[in-house]
Amino acid sequence: MSPVDTLIRRHRLRAVELLPWAIAVGAYFAFADYLSLGSQILIMILFALSLDLVLGYAGIVTLGHSAFFGVGAYAAGIYAVRVSGEPLSGLCVGAVAAAAVGWASGLVILRTHGLTLLMLTLAVTSLLAEAANKANFLTGGADGLQGMDIDPIFGVFRFDLFGRTAYLYCLVVLFLAWLFARRLVHSSFGRSLVGIRENTARMHAIGSPVRRRLLTIYTISAALAGIAGALLAQTTQFVGLTVLGFQRSGEIVIMLVFGGIGRLYGAFVGAGVYMIAQDQLAKLEPVFWYFWIGLLLVLLVMFARGGLLGLLDRLLRR
């Protein structure tokens, strides 16, 4: 097989890539009692996927991704409370709001790099958290945003108490997002992001409009994170201050890193394993959950860069 064929083959869909969907559909039937957890896992996967585009592919180290998640959540929540309970338009509202914040902040932040950039991403999410805290009349402040009534999807599929509709809703949205992300990652644009990550100077020297590319992916990623936030608002009918801020950003970075960055599926593995483990173990001793996560993170950096998928890679190569 010629080298060109080898590279082209990497872009084609492989059977193993359908595994997550098989699992997700199977879980719908096998774990009918856990569908609300299932929805949360799907939401976190989407959130982690959006972060992977920016962190794993474009190489932008950010601790502020919760800003877009939170904006999407609050926008969709406020929309549901004040305007309409229609869920699909609510998703759009969340996506657009988050994309706007992503574009505006990216416009200014992406001119910097290193610590300054990191600090600015953190400052933006902190600023939004403070705004959400103070804007009581709009966001419910520290008590959170409540009172959302979400209408049936397409007027037909009601959100039931068992979380079945919510689960399938999240699954479909995640699927569509994944299709898009996958296409993007395998496209010339996606390859150019990898180029920017590997050697920005070289990208400039081959005529690539680096800043425009980064701003584009930052905005797209923000929109996807916003959709995840909107899903959270709609499926739990509550938005609290924890959707913003350092803790939320840190956690999603951890989930992604555990799975493996820059591999598209690290988000699935990382978020899935993290959320399930958290659900099972954090009940036992919530304080220690964060201790072990911290320890695992330190160990990962020292010994297992590339996360779970990286380890899998190494095992398979033997």
Binding site: V4, L7, S188, R191
Partner: protein
């Protein structure tokens, strides 16, 4: 005839230090021009000014008669200005084929395409492979660039620049750091560059310079000392003085 590249009074200072002193320079279409000078003369700085990595304090740069002084690096590249770096500046984790494919995709204007079908990608990869073949490194197409010997990496550096189909090609010490066993192929590649490209090469290797160049510019401390044919430059006493005691590189 409009020169392929021209600088008019190109000047750059850092405080009291002048690194480019009012340089007037012309590169004709299809030229084979060498830029030489002692270390620290400002040769790479000159290249950086032309490509836009460094902004000038004064002066203008014209590409095929158009003023590009205010344009960004990337825009100048898209107008046909290509360069290689003195130290390999490659996408180290990517394969050789992908390195070149990035350049070709950008040149085609498709670098930003998100949703084009795979067929288009195949076309880019085929052309990249053909380019590698011409430079005789096609055998290493799928090898991650950081695993290649230094000489071959230098070739990839040139391949990327060629992938941009430049009208003006700036080569910054292409043979630098390459063990003599591997440098022959690099010299061949440079000699076989398409005739319509205007090439400016910075070099210390005098053998390469006299073999390749039809015109030579000597740069000393940011200023042009001499410019002329190889014979004129070799005979010039001022050049002898500058290089006295420096010896020849073998």
């Amino acid at each position: 005839m409009t020169p392929a590249l021209e600088t008019i009074g190109l000047h750059r200072r850092f405080g009291a230090l002048i690194v480019a002193n009012d340089i007037h320079f012309r590169l004709e279409a299809g030229a084979r021009h060498a830029l030489i000078g002692p270390n620290g003369a400002g040769k790479t700085t000159f290249i950086n000014l032309i490509t836009g990595r460094l902004a000038p304090s004064a002066g203008r740069i014209l590409l095929a008669g158009t003023d590009i002084t205010a344009l960004s690096q990337a825009t100048r590249v898209r107008r046909g200005l290509g360069r290689t770096f003195q130290i390999n500046t490659l996408f180290r984790g990517l394969s050789v084929l992908e390195n070149v494919a990035l350049a070709i995709a950008e040149h085609d204007g498709h670098g930003g395409d998100m949703l084009r079908p795979l067929g288009a990608r195949r076309a880019v990869l085929e052309r990249s492979y053909a380019l590698l073949d011409r430079l005789r490194i096609a055998g290493d197409a799928l090898v991650p660039v950081q695993q290649l010997p230094y000489g071959k990496q230098r070739l990839v550096e040139i391949a990327i620049a060629l992938g941009l189909q430049p009208t003006v090609l700036l080569l910054d010490e292409p043979a630098a750091g390459v063990p003599s066993a591997e440098s022959a192929i690099i010299l061949e590649v440079i000699e076989q560059l398409p005739h319509d490209i205007a090439v400016l090469i910075i070099e210390h290797d005098m053998e390469l310079v006299f073999r390749f160049a039809r015109r030579i510019t000597v740069l000393v401390q940011g200023s042009v000392l001499v410019e002329g044919t190889p014979a004129e430059v070799a005979a010039d006493p001022r050049v002898r003085e500058v290089y006295l005691g420096e010896g020849r590189h073998g």
